[in-house]
């Protein structure tokens, strides 16, 4: 990948981080309701995989931690923020909320809030691709804890039986809500659980964009070339709690600090600085520009947008 492209990726990662941090603030201010699941710490996962794929062309589906994946597929950050504000201009017209961002024209097929629910939907999208004969692939991003649902095993089995073009990306952040993986899951390495279905699988560092990108390139090519499903496990960490109601009492601050030393944005930033492609000042300017954009365009749009009309309450129930 060219250094220019990597700089763009870094910009997108900074946007993802600052967007989510701004959501946190808006939630505290009660501008955002419901549940809010934030992504900081895991940015290299979404970026690395989708840089290796074709966002907007390939189909992407995920769970409730979905803002960043939607934006990476091409959703306008303004529409995503407006959705969190419950506005008519939101990506789901204010009917979905944080956990249900959709941008179908960009092939972002949605965030779903039943843990493990998207597994079979992703396989179904792959089935449709198979029937129609397109060169797209279906990409399913979920966390490690989703793998304890029956849908994980049932879907892996079917994906293998029907040889479906689906890439399962497991963002292993090591906690299922507030329960550590080794307290809930007999086999901690998730890629090992897949071998029972004879599905190709690998595991790599999820904090280093370059590492994720290289592994994802192989995985995407494997699936796109008609070899059937692939399972890619990315070892990562979410800095914030599972959702906003989570005070992180189940883990130590030391553990969090340890992971923050391997921050995905800093890893990529330092690599670009070492390569002479960027200075620290440029990076700080980038952060500032991002904040400026979020405040003056994204938040402004969400704040100023109208709410849905109550008369439209029952719109979108049936076709």
């Amino acid at each position: 990948m060219k250094l220019e492209d990597k700089k763009r990726v870094l910009r997108e990662m900074v946007l993802a981080r600052r967007f989510e941090e701004r959501c946190y603030q808006a939630y505290i201010e009660r501008k955002i309701g419901g549940f809010l699941h934030l992504y900081p710490g895991q940015e290299a996962c979404c970026q690395g995989v989708l840089e290796a794929a074709r966002p907007g062309h390939d189909y992407v589906i995920t769970g409730y931690r979905d803002h960043v994946h939607a934006i990476k597929c091409g959703a306008d950050p303004k529409a995503v923020m407006a959705e969190l504000y419950g506005k008519e201009t939101g990506s789901s017209k204010g009917r979905g909320g944080s956990m249900h961002i959709f941008d179908v024209k960009n092939h972002f097929m949605g965030g779903y809030a039943l843990v493990g629910g998207p597994f079979p939907l992703a396989a179904g999208i792959a089935k449709a691709i198979q029937l129609k004969g397109g060169d797209e692939i279906s990409i399913c991003f979920l966390g490690d804890a989703a793998n304890n649902q029956g849908t994980f095993h049932e879907t892996l089995n079917m994906a293998a039986v029907y040889k479906l073009p689906v890439l399962f990306v497991c963002e292993n952040n090591q906690y299922g809500i507030g329960t550590a993986i080794d307290r809930s899951t007999a086999v901690v390495d998730q890629f090992k659980r897949v071998c029972g279905y004879e599905i190709q699988a690998s595991q790599c560092d999820g904090q280093d964009f370059d590492v994720v990108y290289e592994h994802a390139k192989k995985a995407v090519a494997y699936v796109r070339n008609g070899n059937g499903p692939y399972f890619l496990e990315l070892m990562t960490y979410r800095y914030r709690g599972h959702s906003m109601s989570d005070s992180r009492g189940y883990r130590t601050r030391e553990e969090e600090e340890l992971w923050k030393q391997r921050d995905p944005i800093f890893i990529l930033r330092d690599r670009l600085i070492d390569a002479g492609a960027m200075t620290l000042d440029e990076f700080h300017a980038l952060e500032k520009d991002t904040d400026h954009y979020i405040e003056n365009e994204v938040i402004k749009f969400a704040e100023e947008s109208p709410e849905p009309n109550v008369a439209d309450l029952e719109k979108y129930v049936l076709a």
Binding site: F102, V104, F119, L131, K132
Partner: protein, 327 residues
């Protein structure tokens, strides 16, 4: 019009829709090579091949989800769930994904998928293979529920369901697949909403759906010939949405109502129809409406107990006689 069996009507609807549109597929347990437990997909595997006639593993929730996911891209899957008892396992995907996706995406996505599944008591199948679950499905926003009482409806409702952009649940009955009836020779699309007056009458309305329509018809015959009571039979083939206008129209005319269902009473079709009568035409009533329904027990295995648990046409007759003060 030719007389064919209920399963043949379903098979014909599958075949015609699959021949017309390459994106219509069917899937389920044993539907392909084995031809379908109730033969509704007989011969389709040979004709359309494994890509479009998918034998699935016994993983109800996930193959249902797979069909729903495919429907997001315009595929129109007809998903057979072998018994409605197994549909419990698929309800997560049916309710949380198919029924809600249109709303929670602000109209961007829709799940044009058809679920077909037989329920009902069918000769000593015991507690876990005899459930009637229409009461559960009909309470879900975003899901249409229909239930054919004869081969013509089975054919026409499936055809319409495949063409519908909404998810549709078709509630069938294990005892009805060999029932014979007339089905139009040409293409026929039965509406997914509304109700049908199967037998006109003036003194009382008997509401039924699926198998209970036949109890009502038999009861109406007995009431006419032996008691001089003219019963109107209304077939509620659409359970969601229910036909409020049709219910009101008939009860406003006859002033009395009995609702017959094989399902248990709580939160069911009978309770819903009674609520609609209350809301729409309470002051037209000459007597309080009565429900005929199953006992609230897990279906017993013993045949005598089983018969005692489920109603039939005699229970409908007795309910009517009681309502008229003749019993």
């Amino acid at each position: 019009m030719a007389e064919i069996m209920y399963w043949e009507a379903l098979q014909r609807a599958h075949d015609e829709e699959m021949a017309r549109d390459p994106l219509v597929i069917c899937m389920g347990e044993d539907i392909g090579v084995a031809g379908g437990t109730y033969k509704a997909t007989k011969g389709l595997f040979e004709k359309y091949g494994p890509l479009r006639v998918m034998d699935t593993p016994i993983s109800e929730n996930s193959y249902t989800g797979l069909g729903i996911g495919a429907s997001f891209l315009g595929v129109r899957p007809i998903i057979e769930i072998m018994s409605v008892n197994f549909a419990w396992l698929a309800m997560d995907q049916m309710f949380n994904s198919a029924a809600k996706v249109r709303y929670m995406s602000g109209g961007q996505l829709t799940a044009p998928v058809v679920f077909r599944s037989p329920g009902g008591s069918a000769h000593q199948l015991g507690a876990q293979h005899s459930a009637r679950m229409e009461k559960v499905f009909m309470g879900i926003a975003g899901l249409r529920v229909v239930t054919p009482s004869n081969p013509k409806q089975a054919y026409g409702l499936l055809k319409s369901a495949v063409r519908s952009d909404d998810p549709v649940f078709i509630n069938e009955h294990e005892l009805m697949y060999n029932m014979k009836g007339e089905v139009p020779e040409g293409e026929y699309f039965h509406p997914l909403e509304g109700s049908e007056i199967t037998r006109p009458g003036t003194d009382i309305t008997l509401f039924g759906y699926n198998i209970s329509v036949h109890w009502c018809l038999k009861a109406a015959e007995i009431l006419a010939s032996q008691y001089n009571i003219s019963a109107e039979v209304v077939d509620l083939y659409a359970l969601s949405p229910l036909d409020r206008a049709g219910i009101k129209k008939s009860v406003s005319k006859t002033h009395r109502a009995v609702i017959a269902e094989e399902d248990e009473a709580p939160c069911g079709v009978g309770s819903e129809v009674m609520a609609i009568i209350n809301e729409e035409c309470f002051f037209d009533l000459d007597a309080a409406p009565v429900r005929v329904h199953s006992a609230l027990v897990p279906q017993p295995y013993n045949h005598k107990l089983e018969l005692a648990a489920i109603p039939d046409h005699e229970d409908v007759v007795n309910a009517v006689l009681k309502l008229f003060g003749k019993a």
